[in-house]
Amino acid sequence: MLNQSDEHKIYVKNVKKENYSIILTRIVILIAFFCLWEIAGRLKWIDPFLTSTPSKMYKAFIQIYVEGTLLSHIFITCFETIIGFVLGTILGTFIAVLLWWSEFVSKVLDPYLIVLNALPKVALAPIIIFWVGNGIKAIIVIALLISIVVTIISVLNGFKEVDVDKIKLLKTFGASKLQILTNLIIPASIPTLISALKINVGLSWVGVIMGEFLVAKNGLGFLIIFGGQISQLDMVMMSIVILSILAYVMYEMVAFFERKVVIKNK
């Protein structure tokens, strides 16, 4: 017995050791990458005007931060993204429910959905700007458009994958269609809904940055396009690094939410 528990301790220790070394290696790679970048820039292996260097990015960061606009740029981009993916998920799920409800409508709309899915939604941006105005609304609508079609298709597929025998079971209980929806289809599709949410986070970033390229006067997308126009590649690179960090944090937040919900379901 004692022997066994010792064996287990060693096992746990080894697993933990491996996890630590994975995280450690990741950090080392990140630091090495930035160090190499800095050294290569200083020693003119690469042209720092084109590639920038971490130190120049840091200077650009401090400069904008001192100007006091950085936080509002970050805030506005995050705000647009969150609104975009939340709306995309909610509206997309709602439309998927309608399509599930009426097989006729679902069959009729099928080719239209396929076309809308294939169409690069950014192509609609100039029209949207005319429709809703040159500002934050247009950006949110573009982000929404990019995520909503994928949501409809993936959530509807999730709904349709629910075991027909489970539907039959509820019918033998005398359940109405609404009861089948609320008691079975939606709870059974929670994993699908969360994976749609995860995809939408990524798509919303694409939509928001594209939107900001086209219309914005602030936001990280604006900083990127503005930096490009005035040949301030330090600013562009810095914005991209911030964007990467934000995208990662937002993804982790959704993953955290997923773990919560999945644990609750278990």
Partner: protein, 254 residues
């Protein structure tokens, strides 16, 4: 008393290119409290017949009559059990067994007590707050049966209820389910392709032919008193006799 009357059921399947007859003029009666099994080659339309009796499919022709003492009950008179237990993974055992009552807006203290007693008498009460994935296949199938019994159906329909289980569990659980059904005095119709299982559990067996299925034989089983449960019945001397009789009928029509 005759509990279920199946009168001249015909069923045709339609596709754009053809009309396929699946069931042809099937009639039989089930006495109250009787356990009747339907056996037949796979794909002959046994499950279709069960769905028709459950009212899930309308037959092309014919009628189903279920005689009831009490027509006031708002619940369905039919309880259906599937090949897989079809428990909802996101609900606890307790919420799973109450599902039918919830759908019918009938979660009263009386009904809850009744379901509670069912869980207690079949040794599942201590697992009420567990989720289905924490239970073994046999226990899950027992929970599924109690979920069906919660609505006090008068007729139970079992659609190959044990075929998703491994052999050992299958023998044990068919014993347990048989005991529960007899104790609750339910009229039962079971569809199976397993001849031994049908003989071990039933009072009567009807045999269907290949598609389009017709009723080719109706056998009433008689066992001596001491072969009281399915496992014991498998040792009865006339078990083999019945087996061979059904085997011949099925193969003569293959």
């Amino acid at each position: 008393m005759i509990k279920v009357e199946i009168n001249n059921i015909c069923m045709n399947y339609h596709s754009l290119t053809a009309e396929t007859p699946a069931l042809k003029d099937i009639s039989f009666r089930v006495q109250e409290g009787q356990f009747l099994s339907i056996v037949g080659p796979s794909g002959c339309g046994k499950s279709t017949l069960l769905n028709i009796i459950a009212g899930l499919i309308t037959p092309s022709y014919g009628e189903i009559v279920i005689n009831s003492y009490d027509d006031s009950s708002s619940f369905s008179k039919i309880g259906y059990m599937f090949q897989k237990d079809q428990l909802f993974d996101w609900l606890t055992i307790w919420d799973n067994v109450l599902l039918g009552l919830k759908i019918n807006h009938c979660i009263t203290e009386d009904n809850k007590d009744r379901v509670k007693n069912l869980l207690i008498s079949y040794n599942l009460w201590e697992f009420r707050n567990h989720h289905p994935r924490e239970l073994s296949g046999g226990m899950r199938q027992r929970v599924a049966l109690i979920r069906t019994l919660a609505l006090s159906p008068e007729v139970l329909l079992l659609d190959e209820p044990f075929s998703a289980l491994d052999y050992q569990t299958r023998l044990n659980i068919s014993d347990e389910v048989y005991e529960i059904i007899k104790k609750e005095k339910k009229t039962t119709i079971m569809v199976t392709h397993d001849i031994s299982e049908a003989i071990s559990m039933s009072d009567e067996i009807i045999i269907l032919s290949n598609r389009p299925a017709v009723l080719i034989k109706d056998i009433t089983l008689k066992f001596e008193e001491n072969f009281s449960c399915p496992l014991k019945r498998r040792e009865a001397p006339n078990f083999r006799v019945y087996f061979n009789e059904i085997w011949k009928e099925l193969n003569g029509n293959a």
